[in-house]
Assembly symmetry: C2
Homo-oligomer: 340 residues x 2
């Protein structure tokens, strides 16, 4: 199959770029020094490529992602790096993943109680390191670890995500060091052998974690690419020009808000200016007096934010040049946790 | 089942508000004077409610929506109000929907050729009336109708969507009239008995179309609600508070960019200020010194834009008070057209 055979809109991955991104990260953080985050791509077939590259521990954002990874035999060490209060879902996750090792992030007595009642055996204490999101205060980490152990949970260590520093360019190393000083202080109080954190934006500056929670580097956000980074965008949205207004100088493709996320801004099109996206359309005009395309032409749009864009699609088509060499199901979508 | 039994994140519809929206529109534009647009809700179960309210003609944005509507017996008069160049998909759509009446929008010789080769029998000439998107120039409409008839297509009339005027508040009636003057000029050249256009934002100002293409009024965008309109938002995202930072004054729920669209801005939470959404989280703080919620509390977020939000979910739960009285599958998602 070739690119021209693909119905549009659909997502395409540039195979060589993806492979180069994986190789670069795996050389820098081999094996368990990296815990790839599956929320970035939601496809067990892509995760399997990372497994082949030497990584057998993964991060998940939802119980559904954990169950899906366990179901395909990628459950050697799965971290649910998120607080979940739904005991039924946690219980189904545990019961569906026997034989897998599952660790869950906790940051309160409530999340500890939920994990414990659901039959979770291992946890990490999630620590707030500056990003206004989940995580307990540094000073509470030791007490929470004691509470977790008191109800029979094994505490493997700590996690803390410095998400507010991913796109930082000023004084980045020092700011990451300061954030991680908090995490290390929490770790001293908690114990265990895991210090988990970081991401694609701090892949080379965060030298304190024992495992880096990066996922975006695989398909690479166009937005992240503003950083001085060896990772290159590998994901595009293939679309067909369905209407051209020659009198007024614009063209329209069959892909819009339902096919790509715009929370990092509108998509980009080489040689064109994007005017706006609506549900099933994007309107654009050639830049600098270039030529309008013809109706039926195929073009690619580059979405600004990979993670929520992938979550809109059923599959990813992998290209080597114009040839479709593989198709990966986006099989970790949604929140339903079904016993498997 | 009651609201507290629903796993989160999930979409909930306030039943009485939805019913009032439907009744208001059906009273103003009964029967075929309204052609509800299914792209707004992508659920045949919701479409069936509109059928019960007297509407048996519908708009679709994709061949997949047409096939899904035909498959459940709602195919009396389906308009694919969008240009489609993919002959294979159009052909599968036609072949899967025998017994249904299908009309397709065309705005170029290429879209006419695609419809004709796929076995489509009826078309509307799509006319640009000011929105920079699909549609031929007014002056080309008659010539395109002749070309369509020359290849054996029945031309039922014209459509033109004045989407740029939906949120207009200054001089709206006059601007809608001017846009529709173009559509009526095109209609005079084209012939046929259909003049299709308009939407929720021009439901009472567009008195020129024979059928109004409105869909958003059913669940109603929070954004549209800025207009002076009798339609009220009926869609919320139910979420669970999973983390509270009392020291710094914020809380986090288990719903973010993968559960709601932010192209019309971040969601709103009653009594709170939303800080930001990330993939699976939204961080917020109480407004005006209010109290933080507790971990495990359930709250609702109101998404700014209904259409792309619904497209992120598998189902819509209908509430009367706290009781879940119905669950509608969002069965028209995606772009795959399978022969049924």
């Amino acid at each position: 199959m070739r690119i021209h055979d693909l119905p549009t809109p659909c997502l395409v991955v540039d195979g060589p770029t993806f492979e180069a991104n994986v190789a670069t990260m795996s050389a820098h953080r081999p094996g368990r020094a990296l815990r790839p985050h599956v929320k970035a791509f939601k496809a067990t077939a892509l995760a399997r490529q990372l497994h082949t590259a030497g990584h057998d521990a993964f991060c998940c954002a939802t119980p559904a992602e954990v169950v899906g990874m366990a179901a395909v035999g990628l459950g050697a060490d799965l971290l649910l790096a998120n607080e979940v209060l739904d005991v039924r879902r946690l219980h189904t996750m545990v019961a569906s993943s026997l034989g897998s090792r599952i660790t869950v992030a906790v940051d309160s007595v409530d999340s500890i109680a939920a994990a414990s009642s659901a039959g979770v055996q291992e946890v990490l204490i999630d620590v707030e390191v500056g990003l206004p999101r989940c995580g307990c205060p540094v000073d509470d980490a030791g007490r929470l670890a004691d509470e977790a152990r008191a109800v029979g949970l094994e505490v493997r260590g700590v996690m803390g995500y410095e998400g507010h520093l991913m796109m930082e360019t000023d004084d980045k190393a020092a700011r990451v060091e300061a954030a991680m000083a908090g995490l290390l202080a929490a770790h001293a109080a908690v114990g265990g052998d895991v210090v988990s954190g970081g991401g694609t934006g701090t892949w080379d500056t965060n030298t304190w974690v024992t495992e880096l929670q990066a996922g975006s580097y695989t398909l690479m956000d166009a937005d992240y690419a503003r950083l001085d980074s060896p990772f290159r965008p590998a994901l595009d949205l293939l679309a067909t020009v369905i209407s051209v207004n020659r009198a007024k100088g614009w063209a329209v493709v069959d892909a819009g808000l339902k096919a790509l996320a715009t929370d990092h801004g509108p998509p980009t099109i080489d040689g064109a200016t994007v005017w706006f996206c609506s549900d099933e359309h994007t309107t654009f005009a050639p830049a600098d007096g270039g030529e309008l395309p013809a109706v039926g032409d195929r073009i690619t749009l580059r979405p600004g934010h990979v993670d929520p864009t992938v979550a809109l699609h059923d599959r990813l088509h992998v290209l080597h040049g114009e040839e479709v060499v593989d198709t990966w199901d986006v099989d970790l979508r949604g929140w339903d946790v079904r016993r498997v």
